[in-house]
Symmetry: C2
Subunit: 215 residues, 2 copies
């Protein structure tokens, strides 16, 4: 009866198809714009199966949102496991966010929808993943300061600058295409998210290491 409220069989092929479809639809329309029927149609299953296997619209959404945050946290953990150098660590944080926020990816659009909607679906477990994500930037900054390499600065400012710039850069893609058409400029001449990641890294390093000889 209430079992499907608690337990989700992630090994089930049906569940995987539902989650893949839900990820796409939520990324395109956000929670309010997404339609349960669209997810069911894309997953090629009966609508009632969504409720049987996972739960209501809110529950499916929370599973998807959690997965996006966990994916970023896991990628950071994997890259920074045996990284001692603060500059290399910072570069990994920037590059991994750029990779996760590729404009083809669903992560940036879903996260942006959720933030714009007032973060009304942020559960404790989702917040925990963000705490993990943020802790990597914080520990890199701390190590940089301790080794005398970095200027002492609130790491959350660096983190918001990196993630904010790359998030907007990612969801901006359709807008920049319209703009390129409007001003009769080839889309190819506009900076890519990888260009932006490189630029960000450059700007932040020049700020954090002002006395470095490489400046």
């Amino acid at each position: 009866m209430l079992r499907q409220e608690r337990f989700i069989d992630y090994e089930s092929g049906t569940v995987k198809r539902i989650l893949a479809a839900a990820e796409t639809v939520f990324a395109e329309k956000g929670f309010f714009g997404a339609r349960i029927d669209d997810i069911a149609a894309l997953a090629d299953i009966n609508k009632s199966m969504l409720y049987y296997h996972i739960g209501n619209k809110e529950r499916i959404y929370e599973v998807i949102l959690h997965r996006h945050f966990k994916k970023i946290a896991d990628a950071l953990e994997n890259a920074l496991m045996d990284c001692e150098d603060p500059i290399e660590g910072l570069r990994a944080v920037v590059d991994i966010h750029a990779a996760m926020f590729d404009s083809e990816d669903k992560t940036p659009r879903t996260v942006a929808h959720e933030l714009a909607g007032g973060s009304r679906h942020m559960t404790q477990t989702i917040l925990d993943e963000y705490v993990r994500i943020h802790s990597f930037t914080a520990s890199i900054a701390r190590r940089g300061v301790e080794s005398g390499l970095f200027r002492d600065v609130d790491p959350s400012r660096i983190h918001i600058m990196v993630t904010g710039t790359l998030l907007v850069m990612a969801i901006n893609a359709p807008f920049r295409n319209l703009l390129a058409k409007r001003i009769d400029q080839s889309p190819a001449t506009m900076p890519s998210i990888d260009d932006m990641a490189e630029f960000l890294m450059d700007v932040i390093l020049k700020y954090l290491t002002p006395n470095d000889s490489t400046s």
Copy 2:
């Protein structure tokens, strides 16, 4: 018959009430989440009057979205009219975006919803306002380079870094409050959008003017 499709009497008190209500509802829920009935209820007006005075949901939304972009462009134009100094100009661009993206304001949430949704409602007139907005940053950067004060850099990178960081900082506010509760930290200790604007200005100036004696 079809006249109301083209002409909107912005002087009408009824129109003003409708637009104020629509601005609030669209900011909270985005285009897909917003309900015509909610807008009508908030404006304390009969629903059919929305269609009579302005048009359908899409048309109302486009009017609101245009107003947000125009407001930013007008504020920039006003501030930069008689500004010669590139550094002062850059500071004005950052400060005005920070003021427009105040977390209490509707502008950042509506813009973020639109970008996350794939910029599906961007008309030519709205794009024109963005071209105006961007042109200010571009001309400031150009003047800075010409005077030998700034490093030569693609101005759109600076612009996206400024607007991206501040936009996410603005719509982040509810998320940061949840986070502060989660890690048992007072929200007061978290950086405000004005702190972030100051930080951004500092970081960008250190990048653009590396040889400046004030570094």
